[in-house]
Every structure is written in structure tokens, then in C-alpha cells.
């Protein structure tokens, strides 16, 4: 009895030693830690994986803890880089500067879009919605599906006299940020009453947790309308609306129309890439689109680490972009890639 326990202890000890030894071997690599947005997590983990295969000396860990957490952690310096779905505001940039005595740079990586999904019994066609109508529904001023405003853009659809049930995200998310950013741009009333943010004080509606919570509630509630990420809607075959863009055309949300929105915004791209591309110019641009960014400190103590990050960024902007579409992310337009390549020189 006793000897078997001793044996087990011995084996555990040996295993522990082996583990420590192997860890020691692994740590000869450059280990880079990042944290932040959960929306781009699938593509980031693919990139970091593929990149580690090509460069055995570099290991990049990424935790998808949410944009707010990513901003906080990179500001505190507990991770090497952050990631966010909404750009940092001026106050946060200042905070970063005082805490780390360097600047943080934004680098767009891929694009996402938010689509309007709905559940109206016996309606199978894609609805055409204009910005004013969407804002009206989410403000609670349009309450019936057969409202004149909805009928006007959908003359061929037979809309029932049914109450509209609004479903929004209950958890703080980049999706909500993009959605409320769009509504703030197209509706002055929304801007003054509600505003934009990862969580807001919703005038009407029910909250669902995550894309799956929103789409689950939309599926189960007849007469409901909600918003989810484009990727999620494509993968789960949800029906979604065409939205009128700033050129007056109803655009079907897709990876191409999302990239088109970014290309529209590229002409007036600010040097720090902190730009909202909702309601972007361009006749094919889908108006509820957004960049997602990596947040990289301009200067780092560890030069080797910064150079590794820089090399990764070059790779991400070139071959990395080709992996975006198979995971249903919209790729960066080439104008933006060129602008970022230039901006990478600022990392020193």
C-alpha cells in the first residue's frame, strides 16, 4: 500500500520535473501576449497558429476577453498588444500616455458588419430598410410591422399588423458599438437620447446574451427584429435586411459590400486609423460596417518583441489577408493595406 503511494508520488514528481524542463525549452522562444476583442478571435487564432508554424521562434497568445478588457490590459502593460472593435477615445489615449509614457497605435486587421435580422411570419423576402426606419424601430416610435415607413420601402411585401419586438445585445460588445455608432450617425434623435457605446440605455426591447442569444430570441419571437454580426448570420442562415446606404441604394450585406465600405473610407483615412466606417461613402458600401483593430504600443522595452510584432503585421497584411474570407471576415481594401504598411515604420 505504502510503496504504491510512494511510487505514485515519485511518478508525479518526475512528470512535474519533465514539465518544468520542457517549459524551459519552450521559453527560449519569443512569447508575445495579447488580449481583447472576441469578434476577431477566430481569425486571430488562425493567424497566430499559421504564423507560429512558419516562424518556430515566435509564439503569440491571444485571449478573447472583450474590447474593454483589451484596452485596459494594454494600458496597464499586462499584455504586449491589445485588440478592440471600437477605437480608443481621446481620454483613453491620454491615460495610456501617462501610464506607459509612449503612444498606442491602432492597426485595422479585418472588417466586420452588423446585419438586421427579423422574424415576421409568412415573410420570406429580404426587407429593404432605410436608416430612419431602423432608428425609429429601435427608438420605439415605429411599433407595427405594417407601419407606413416600412411599407414605403417594401411595396411588394405583405406586412402583417403585428407588434414589433426589438431584441438587442444584453452584454457589452463591439457589435453593439458598431450598431449604436451607425444609429447615432443616421438619427440625431438617437444621438441625443441614447448615444453610442458597447452597452447603452436601450429605449425599448429585450436583451439577449451574445449573437446566439439575440438570434435565439428572434427565432422564437414572432414579429421580432434584432441585430447580429454578419458572420453569425451567414453561418446560421438567418434572413437579413438590405439597408439603404449614403448613396441611396439598398445594399445586401456581404463580405464584398463591407470591404467596399472600408475602401470608401480610405480616402479620408486619418493617420491614426481611428475611423468609424459606418454610413460610409461609396455606391456599393454596406453602411453598418466596422474595422477591428490591434493596439500596439509605439515603443517597447523589448526591441526584439516589437520587431517580432512588426514582422507579424507585415505578414498579416500580405498573406494573412487571404485567410480572412474563408472564415467569413471581410478583408482590408488594398488602399488601407498600403497605408498601414507605411504606418508600421512608426513602431520603434
Amino acid at each position: 500500500m505504502k510503496s504504491s503511494i510512494q511510487k505514485i508520488i515519485l511518478i508525479l514528481l518526475l512528470a512535474g520535473l519533465a514539465f518544468v524542463f520542457l517549459q524551459g525549452l519552450c521559453c527560449a522562444q519569443t512569447l508575445i501576449n495579447g488580449a481583447g476583442a472576441s469578434f476577431p478571435y477566430p481569425i486571430y487564432s488562425k493567424w497566430f497558429n499559421e504564423y507560429a508554424k512558419l516562424h518556430s521562434g515566435i509564439q503569440i497568445n491571444y485571449q478573447s476577453i472583450g474590447s474593454g478588457g483589451g484596452i485596459k490590459q494594454v494600458t496597464e502593460g499586462t499584455v504586449d498588444f491589445g485588440a478592440t472593435d471600437g477605437p480608443m477615445n481621446d481620454e483613453q489615449l491620454k491615460d495610456f500616455q501617462t501610464k506607459r509614457s509612449t503612444n498606442v497605435l491602432h492597426f485595422p486587421t479585418v472588417l466586420g458588419a452588423v446585419v438586421v435580422t427579423y422574424n415576421i411570419p409568412e415573410v420570406t423576402e429580404s426587407l429593404n430598410l432605410n436608416p430612419e426606419t431602423i432608428a425609429g424601430i429601435f427608438l420605439g416610435t415605429i411599433t407595427k410591422w405594417n407601419d407606413a415607413a416600412i411599407k414605403a420601402t417594401n411595396p411588394k411585401v405583405k406586412l402583417p399588423s403585428m407588434d414589433i419586438v426589438v431584441i438587442h445585445r444584453s452584454d457589452g460588445s463591439g457589435t453593439s458599438y458598431c450598431w449604436t455608432d451607425y444609429l447615432s450617425k443616421v438619427s440625431p434623435e438617437w444621438k441625443s437620447k441614447v448615444g453610442k457605446g458597447t452597452s447603452v440605455n436601450w429605449p425599448v426591447g429585450l436583451g439577449g446574451k451574445g449573437n446566439e442569444g439575440v438570434s435565439g430570441q428572434v427565432k422564437q419571437t414572432s414579429g421580432s427584429i434584432g441585430y447580429v454580426e454578419l458572420i453569425y448570420a451567414i453561418q446560421n442562415k438567418l434572413s437579413y435586411a438590405n439597408v439603404k446606404n449614403s448613396s441611396g441604394r439598398f445594399v445586401k450585406p456581404s463580405l464584398e459590400s463591407t470591404t467596399a465600405a472600408a475602401a470608401g473610407a480610405a480616402k479620408n483615412m486619418p493617420a491614426d486609423f481611428r475611423v468609424s466606417i459606418t454610413d460610409a461613402a461609396g455606391k456599393d458600401a454596406y453602411p453598418i460596417s466596422t474595422f477591428t483593430w490591434l493596439l500596439i504600443p509605439e515603443m517597447m522595452q523589448d526591441k526584439g518583441k516589437l520587431n517580432s510584432i512588426k514582422e507579424f503585421m507585415h505578414w498579416m497584411l500580405a498573406s494573412g489577408q487571404n485567410m480572412a474570407e474563408e472564415l467569413s471576415y471581410a478583408r482590408l481594401p488594398k488602399e488601407v493595406v498600403a497605408q498601414e504598411e507605411k504606418a508600421l515604420a512608426n513602431l520603434k
Binding site: G68, I71, G172, N201, Q217
Partner: protein, 326 residues
């Protein structure tokens, strides 16, 4: 031992020797055991105190800004920086009470069956299955809630509403997700606690109590209802309060079926929100000190709520056991 004493007498007052002696004394079983368990107990108290301290210091911005207003206002607007906890407190309390209302009769009834009436070859496997229910992760129960319970309620509630719709608690439109649904889901989660603890307590009632009641000519049910249950009352109440504590703090399952809408409505069929759910929902993306500290103050409120409820449970048990012992 002898050496130490000699050393002690040669150089009196040398501290190291005193400590050594204390140490040796401590090594004599009892003292050592006492020391170790004291450290364990003190550690738990210290952890609790540390949690309260951390929650308090981190929620200072919000406490300073809102004061008592935090408890009586119902606006939750992260953008305007206006935070009020009332709808969350209301939702937490109402869902927990609803859960108890469903779970107590079922739980105590099941415990009586398992402890008093069922033969052990039925009772033992059933108890095992019930304890398994307690081990189901809450997120799983939440998913079953949203994909099975909510559609089921959507077919059950409308006819019920047409009869009872005149009552304020059944007024308003029903979307499937509601305070009521959250109460039902919670009751499923807490009922195993009530059953398994109550069963143990009932089994611990001495056999002679039952035999005495039967000898006096009472039926099986009379002996159970009038003798065994009053004897076990304190333990059963204890199980109920443990279940309540679980209900108050439940997060994932509630947030999936409650509707996540911070509004206070008299109707149980309306969507609501709970403290634990809003913290889980908004904490990861909360930016800004005030927003974060308001969320932390919410957890302080939840903590206080649990303390109040545990305290009253203690009081109730003390009172009832005092009565029972007379």
C-alpha cells in the same frame, strides 16, 4: 526535551529557547491541530473581509457620486454615466422568491417521499439522480431554458393569461423570456439542494419519535406530518435558505431567460434583469471608472443581500430550534 530544559536553565531569558520550547509544545498533537484548524478558520474570515474591503474601495467613485440614490433610481445609462440599482435588486429578489415558491413544495414533498415512504431500493437511486441534477452546469440549464422552456411557456402562458389576465402580475405582453421564466429555471436549479438536505435531515430524526407517534395510534402520514417534520424543521429551513442563496447569485441561467431589460414591472410576464446577470453581461466591456465602480457596487449590494438573508436564516433557525426544544 531534557537538553532544552538544561539549556534553558543555563542561559535564562534567551528567547530562541523559549520559542523552541513553545514549538516543541506545539508539536504535541492537540496544540498543533488546534493551530492548523484555527489558521483555516481565520483564513476564511480573512478572505471574506478582504472581498468586502476590495469591493468597497473599488466602488468608492460610484458610492461617492450616487450615495443612497443608487438604491432608489432605476436608470442604467453607461453613456450618460447614470447608474441606479433598483431594477436589478427588484429582479434578483422577485426571481428568487418565485423560485422558492415553486421549489419548496416540490422539494420538501420529494424529500418526505424519499425519506419516509419510499423503500430504500427506490430512494437511493432517486437521491443519486437528484444530486446529479445539482451538478448540471448552469449554462446548460440556461440553454435548455431558452430552447425548451421558453417555447413551451409560449404555448402554455397565453391560454393562462386569457383567464388570469385581469391580475396585474399576469398583465402585459408575453415574449417567452420573462421574470417568470427565470423563476422557473431557478427553481429547477435549487430544488436538488432542498431535496437532498431535507432528506438527510428527515432521515436523522430518531426512530423512537416515529415509533412513539405510531404507538399512540397515529397513521403513517400523521406521524410524518405532526412529529417527524416539526422535529426536522430547523434543518429543512436551513436547506431552503441555502437554496435561496444559490438563487440570488445565479448568473448564466438567469441571464439567458430573463430578458435583460432593466425595468420594474408589476407583471411577472414582463422581462426583467438581475444583479448577477448585469455584472456578467457588462463587466468585460465596461470602460470608464464610474461605470466599472457602479458594477462593483452592484456586487457589493448582492453581497449585502446574501448576508442579510443568511443572517435572517440563522435567526429563524435559532428561534425555531428554541421553540422545538421546549
Amino acid at each position: 526535551m531534557a537538553e532544552t530544559i538544561r539549556g534553558d536553565s543555563r542561559i535564562p531569558g534567551r528567547e530562541s529557547f523559549t520559542i523552541l520550547r513553545l514549538f516543541q509544545k506545539a508539536l504535541k498533537g492537540d496544540e498543533l491541530a488546534r493551530g492548523i484548524v484555527f489558521v483555516c478558520a481565520a483564513g476564511i474570515v480573512a478572505i471574506t473581509a478582504l472581498i468586502v474591503y476590495e469591493l468597497w474601495t473599488q466602488s468608492t467613485p460610484s458610492i461617492h457620486k450616487f450615495g443612497w440614490r443608487f438604491f432608489v433610481t432605476g436608470t442604467w445609462d453607461p453613456i450618460a454615466g447614470e447608474f441606479g440599482a433598483l431594477p436589478f435588486i427588484y429582479g434578483t429578489v422577485v426571481t428568487s422568491i418565485l423560485a422558492l415558491a415553486f421549489a419548496i413544495p416540490v422539494g420538501v414533498g420529494a424529500a418526505i417521499f424519499l425519506a419516509e415512504l419510499a423503500p430504500s431500493r427506490i430512494s437511493n437511486p432517486l437521491t443519486f439522480l437528484i444530486e446529479l441534477l445539482a451538478a448540471v452546469p448552469s449554462v446548460t440549464i440556461g440553454l435548455i431554458g431558452i430552447f425548451v422552456l421558453v417555447p413551451a411557456l409560449n404555448t402554455i402562458v397565453p391560454p393562462l393569461k386569457s383567464i388570469l389576465g385581469f391580475l396585474p402580475v399576469f398583465s402585459g405582453p408575453f415574449y417567452g423570456v420573462s421574470v417568470f421564466s427565470a423563476g422557473v429555471v431557478l427553481s429547477v436549479m435549487i430544488v436538488p439542494f432542498i431535496i437532498s438536505i431535507s432528506r438527510e435531515v428527515l432521515l436523522a430524526v430518531p426512530r423512537n419519535q416515529r415509533e412513539a407517534a405510531l404507538a399512540l395510534g397515529s397513521t403513517k402520514w400523521e406521524s410524518t406530518w405532526k412529529v417527524v417534520i416539526p422535529y426536522a424543521r430547523a434543518g429543512i429551513i436551513g436547506s431552503i435558505f441555502l437554496a435561496l442563496a444559490r438563487a440570488l447569485g445565479e448568473t448564466m441561467a438567469v441571464t439567458m431567460v430573463i430578458g435583460n431589460s432593466p425595468k420594474i414591472s408589476a407583471s411577472l410576464l414582463a422581462p426583467g434583469y438581475s444583479i448577477a446577470s448585469v455584472i456578467a453581461n457588462e463587466f468585460t466591456e465596461a470602460t470608464g471608472d464610474l461605470y466599472l465602480s457602479a458594477l462593483i457596487e452592484l456586487s457589493l449590494v448582492l453581497f449585502a443581500l446574501s448576508i442579510v438573508i443568511n443572517g435572517s436564516a440563522r435567526l429563524l433557525i435559532l428561534m425555531t430550534t428554541a421553540k422545538g426544544s421546549k
